[in-house]
Amino acid sequence: MDPLIEARALTKRFGGFVAVDGIDFVIRPGEAFGFLGPNGAGKSSTMRMIGCVSPVSGGTLRVLGMDPAADGAQIRARLGVVPQEDNLDTELTVWDNLMIYGRYFDLPRAEIRRRAEELLEFVQLTDRRDSRVDPLSGGMKRRLTIARALINEPEVLLLDEPTTGLDPQARHMLWERLYRLKQDGVTLVLTTHYMDEAEQLCDRLVIMDAGRIVAEGSPRDLVATHATREVVELRFGRAAEQHAALARVRTLAPRVEPVADRLLVYTDDGDATAAAVTADGVGAASVLVRRASLEDVFLILTGRTLEE
Amino acid sequence: MSTPPVVRVMEREARVLARLWRGMVFSTLLSPLLFLAAMGLGLGGLVKAHTGRVAGLTYLDFVAPGLMVASAMQLAANEAMWPVLGGVKWMKTFHATVATPITAGEIVVGYVLWVVVRAIGASTVFFVVAALLGAVPSAWGVLAIPAAALCAGAFAAPLAAYSVTLDTDLVFPVIMRVGVLPLFLFSGTFFPLSQLPSGLRPLAAMSPLWHGVELARGATTGTLHIGADIVHVLVLLACVGAGFAWGRRTFARRLTS
């Protein structure tokens, strides 16, 4: 199948500062594609270029087979955008936000009304339809922003950190909604710095750091390729103890990453390594064995944690 | 020795102002003086040619104290609307303040006194310029400055008490256009109340601005009437007091519920 979105050496500069540094990626119809990375990695800058609201500084970008610089309006007509920061129209009500957004896409009013009813149902805001936007809770605003992004029945939905700031229940509800959209054939492009979100939602993802892509693949492949099967987490009572133990632990396993409050020991056999650590008497206050995750892939590739 | 809480509230506002001095120079000093030049000198020339004196004064002498007090009122109204709502809604600085030992009641008083201090500053500059233009015939004129300050407090206190209850700033332009501007234009500022249709005169006499203007005009022209002036002062003080009493309640409700 032809790619829906294709970037080659895509670059974004703000003055002399390079926010996106020559990245390549391909997004295919119907998949859920993620950009995972820490603050300032260049995720939003990339999303805004795909959304045709930020001119490309270098390289090439094709969206829906068209060039954002020349065909921005036609491309945007087929996209739905959920920006990182909610930008609902605070001068309008919930309902009017959907109505006018539909008008921006030049939809007939009757059709917008039909879709708006459906969408309010979909995001469970029907009882707030005549409320102004300001008094809505953060989660409600987020849901309304998503409903708004769907008013034109987009083929591609761009979601910039869709669940940041939501409580766990609201996050799960949103994931379930997004999953249903994907079932309906909508291509999802999202950014996140939550590895559980990436694992839940993405078929494929790229890990970005400082404007570059450092790895690409499905969540499972990324873990398999870049991390070990299991991780042993060692916590210490005091920072000095952790510091002292580092060299000792390094003799027991090939890969050890110190993070703020613990040591992460990468190993294929967690229990064996945990036993070895305990036997060696490094003096860890707690020892925990778990499966490796995307978080670990990121740490191994960049030497940093995602949320710091 | 500890600084009184009210003064600490004022100090915070002074720090903000130190960054925004240019806006203050333009809108609270320069534009009243431009009005004085346009009305007192430009329009005054036409009045002189036609009627000569207004209420026994040259038009410049007549309009200068009016503009001085009216400008203090406008400054007070502005400062008691947007910044107050900002303090509880957009920037939430009052929320931060009330989290310290300072109480909601002290915030209203401190904030309003701060507005009064600014009105004193602006009125003083205006007064000096007006005097240089020869618009202050009497040495009692200095008393116009406290008159303007009192009038500023009479507007700032109740308006701040009201602003803090709001959720949007939509009504502020409406208050400016439908409340403050008519007062500015019809409180004996630009022409004597006696020229209004007789039905409207008592209405205009209820305007706190009129009381302030009467006080100030009495001072700059040296025609003080003790009896009437005491009434003017009492009316203005009553507005301040009512504003504080109301503000204590509304600020407390908004900040500590």
Binding site: Q74, R78, E91, L92, D96, Y104, D106, E153 | L20, T51
Partner: protein
Amino acid sequence: MSARMGSMRVLPPLGARQRPWRMVERNVLAYRRTWYVFLSGFFEPVLFLLSIGIGVGKLVGKLPFDGHLVDYKQFVAPGLLASAAMNGSLLDTTFNFFVKYKYSHTYDAILATPLGTGDVATGEVVWALMRGAIYSTAFLLTMVAFGLVPSWWALLVVPVAVLIGFAFAGAGLAGTTFMRSWVDFDYVTLALVPLFLFSATFFPLSQYPAGLQAVIRLTPLYQGVVLERALVLGHMQWTLLVHAAYLAVMGAVGLRVAARRIGRLLQP
């Protein structure tokens, strides 16, 4: 949501000409619930007319204008109308535009749709002009009610008010593209108040010192005041076309500057 299954259809691209009208539609929607704010915009010039025109007018009597004597209120009313046209248009294209793009991010959301930066700017200018046309029509009717409009040329008063609005919309929008923060708007106030007071609005040019008269002849609101006063009083002259041309050029140049800069401003 079942209807979406087969919806890989391509929407017809919105006709480029219609797009700015969507901005107007949005603003109408926004004001539908806050009509009293819209309504209050009408009071300002009327209150000035009552106070300065009629109240102070009694103290001023009649003024010589073009060889005749005219009532002061008749002299001042067209000036107030021209000032109101300037005021409204400047507020919409400076403060209001700045708030929407910098603080409420209203335009960010709109630009994610087929509307582009040009459509947003054009739409806002069109809206400002429509609003100005409504207010100046209302004010003109008030003037008629007060018997202040002797000439049929006054039919052109509203179109000229729109022209004044256009001139200041161009200047305002161009200026806004250079603004970095709130503090910069002090310059708008700095320009607005002297223009309002010293454009032969409240008293004729002859009241100024000679040196100042030459300066005022060059300022933008003066052009509008001269035009409106001539139309209301029916004193038509060919030289009025120069004043109209001044305003047209000012608006066009301003919008060109704004058009070049606004894309980068709204979409960094």
